[in-house]
């Protein structure tokens, strides 16, 4: 189907040309913020303006030397990794169950499981704030990890379910009929096949937690401020060039996550193409 709209007549050529030009402008719009902020982070000046008076790495040094930013990086990693592990466990189990479960309640359960993706975060944040505060779950890691896990699990359920859809359940049945106990079937047959889906889900889960700021705004104490939370205050007060350096580092992390995801997708496409 590709190349199907290769222009033939003049009018088609004009139409295609307009598409290409407008799409290019939109691509530029999409990339502009990232393109604009990268050079500024290497500026030697305190002012965020072009042309750059000179190049330097001082803002990166600033970031690395700052206790505040290092604490927030550590917090982001602790919360992100813990939430990812929890979300992976709960989400994978649920996806395995949902793939086999037949019930008229299934659409309802599904809607419930996916609802954290749809409900505005501010509502979840307010509800959790009211509910967790009396339980002593605000102002510490535990509450934030639980909240981020809730937001992240739908992504794991979706990605693992997508892998399970192309997974032939007869393989598991074959293993079981050959005498493998359920846990062995899971470990030797199911797990290796759904691992790419779990990995994609984990990336989504980590990205969700790593980028989340609303819940952190409501529930974190000064000791649990994450990178996005620190950026939020930084942007509110005054955008210092250090923030642009942090932004570039965060963007690099996104590039890394995205490339891993893309690699996983291509790999599974290739494997499926072979099968």
């Amino acid at each position: 189907m590709s190349n199907s709209h290769a222009p033939r007549t003049t009018i088609q050529r004009i139409g295609w040309g307009t598409t290409v030009v407008s799409a290019t402008l939109v691509f530029f719009f999409l990339m502009a913020p990232i393109l604009a902020i990268v050079p500024l982070s290497f500026s030697s000046s305190t002012y965020l303006t072009y042309p750059l008076p000179g190049l330097s790495l001082r803002w990166y040094e600033d970031f690395l030397a700052s206790d505040k930013w290092m604490l927030s990086l550590k917090n982001s990693l602790i919360i992100g990794v813990s939430a990812t592990i929890l979300a992976m466990t709960l989400g994978t189990l649920a996806a395995l169950g949902l793939a086999q479960w037949k019930s008229r309640f299934k659409p309802l359960v599904l809607a419930l499981v996916l609802s954290p993706m749809v409900v505005p975060v501010v509502i979840a944040a307010v509800g959790l704030y009211f509910f967790f505060a009396p339980l002593g779950l605000t102002g510490n890691y535990a509450g934030l990890i639980l909240a981020h896990t809730a937001l992240a699990t739908p992504f794991v359920v979706i990605t693992v379910s997508a892998t399970l859809q192309s997974f032939d359940m007869n393989l598991a049945r074959a293993a079981a009929s050959l005498g493998a106990p359920p846990l062995l079937v899971f470990r030797k047959v199911i797990l290796p096949l759904i691992l790419p889906g779990m990995a994609s889900g984990a990336l989504f889960a980590f990205a969700t937690s790593f980028d989340e700021v609303v819940i952190v705004l409501f529930m974190a104490g000064p000791e649990q401020r994450t990178l996005p939370r620190e950026m939020f205050s930084g942007i509110r007060e005054n955008i210092s060039p250090t923030i642009t350096a942090v932004a570039v580092i965060l963007t690099l992390i996104s590039v890394f996550l995205l490339s891993t995801l893309e690699w996983l997708r291509r790999r599974s496409e290739r494997l499926q193409g072979k099968g």
């Binding site: 604009a36 709960l90 996104s254």
Partner: protein
């Protein structure tokens, strides 16, 4: 097999049914941990928020005698001496156990100034008034007690549940006769805020559709290699932190920012344009953040449109524009519908972006929910505004679910 032989006398049908039941039970057991987790971290908290939007406990708890005395009051005239005596006793008691502040705050929501009335009177009552003099004593302390409106406010706040906050979230209130009327103009802001929220949502959705359509069309009609490469331009911003993008837009759009510098350098403007901390900034930044959510569903639908239809139309003599409008465009409607709904649903819940790039007049409903939760601690109103937003989102999500159901990208969950 051994088991099957040993139980050979049980009909096969029943054994199969039993095995299936066991399988279903195991499947459910796998889903249960997540359900229990979400119950604790999502459903109960949000349910609690919804409960707070109708809960109205302060007056009922702090002033039980007054509430009891008012239970048979018809609201037509200022109640009699027993109610005043009960009020005096309650004010004195709740001042001592410090529950009076909640009452004062709650009544002040009804009418500005009642806080002073309640606190002032409570402070003055040292001893209970002599029997039969409660009314004159209290009215002497604050003439507001002699007004029907004050008593009506007390009665309306008797709790334990009321529609006070939900009505307030829609700029409505109950008048002294108990019927629902519009709130006074100076208190009527939330309908405007909801209107603004939906307006910004619609504007952003329209912008995303206009900008996203050509991109999705291009990506869907290029050879796979090229479109995968160009897809990076969509996915990279999509994966970039929201804070990073918001920060970048401020740097680009501010008075001394890149775009103003560029426009001045070209000579198009002399004075810097105001493009940030106003509606322009909100539209630009939100469209940027939400554009991928439009492009991706549009793209997936456009890829599945067979080129044969367009070829058939042109070969039958339709001019390209007509073929596009009447053959191609209708086939993209599921994609446009899904993309628009998704963008709109996400847009009306936005908080961070408008908070950072908008001005005071551009704040959306989420901002007010957060504000009443943490700044002024009016949890009832915060919850009521949240309840309205939640209902709107849920209704739209249901439409979205119906729309996407039957399309292929259900993630394999609807089999």
């Amino acid at each position: 097999m051994v088991a099957a032989v040993a139980t050979g006398d049980i009909p096969l049908k029943r054994r199969l049914r039993r095995a299936e039941r066991a399988r279903q039970f195991r499947a459910l057991a796998l889903v249960l941990p997540l359900l229990a987790f979400l119950m604790f971290t999502f459903l109960i908290p949000i349910g609690g928020m919804l409960w707070r939007s109708v809960e109205d406990p302060e007056v009922g708890q702090a002033m039980p005698r007054t509430v009891a005395a008012l239970s048979g009051w018809d609201g037509k005239e200022v109640p009699g001496e027993p109610a005043f005596a009960a009020l005096a006793a309650d004010l004195r008691q709740s001042y001592q156990d410090r529950s009076i502040a909640g009452v004062a705050k709650r009544l002040n929501y009804v009418s500005n100034g009642l806080r002073t009335t309640v606190m002032g009177t409570a402070r003055k009552i040292r001893d209970l008034p002599a029997p039969g003099t409660a009314r004159e004593t209290l009215v002497a302390m604050d003439p507001a007690w002699g007004e029907r409106a004050t008593w009506s406010a007390l009665k309306g706040a008797s709790g334990p549940v009321s529609d006070f906050y939900l009505l307030a979230a829609l700029d409505l209130k109950r008048n002294m006769e108990g019927s629902i009327v519009s709130a006074p103009e100076e208190q009527s802001i939330y309908v405007d805020v909801f209107g603004r929220t939906f307006g910004i949502g619609l504007g952003v959705t329209a912008l995303c559709l206009i900008l996203g359509f050509p991109v999705a069309y291009l990506l869907a009609n290029l050879p796979a290699g090229q479109s995968n490469l160009l897809m990076i331009f969509v996915l990279l911003p999509f994966w970039t932190s929201l804070l990073v993008r918001t920060c970048a837009w401020i740097v680009l759009l501010q008075g001394e920012g890149l775009i103003n510098d560029l426009l001045r350098w070209v000579g198009l403007i002399d004075e810097p344009l105001r493009m940030i901390y106003n509606r322009v900034g909100v539209f630009v930044a939100m469209t940027h953040v939400l554009l991928p959510f439009m492009i991706l569903p549009l793209y997936s639908v456009m890829r599945s449109i067979s080129p044969a239809y367009m070829r058939a139309a042109t070969s039958l003599g339709a001019p390209p524009a007509v073929a596009f409008l009447r053959i191609y465009l209708p086939q993209t409607i599921p994609g446009m519908g899904a993309g628009c709904l998704l963008v709109f649903i996400l847009a009306i819940g936005y908080y961070i972006t408008p908070a950072l790039v908008g001005g005071a007049a551009d704040q959306m409903i989420s901002y007010f929910i957060a504000f009443y939760t943490t700044d002024t601690v009016n949890w009832g109103l915060a919850s009521a505004l949240g309840a309205v937003l939640l209902v709107a989102t849920m209704l739209l999500a249901m439409v979205y679910g119906k729309l996407v159901h039957g399309q292929q990208n259900t993630g394999g969950l609807k089999n």
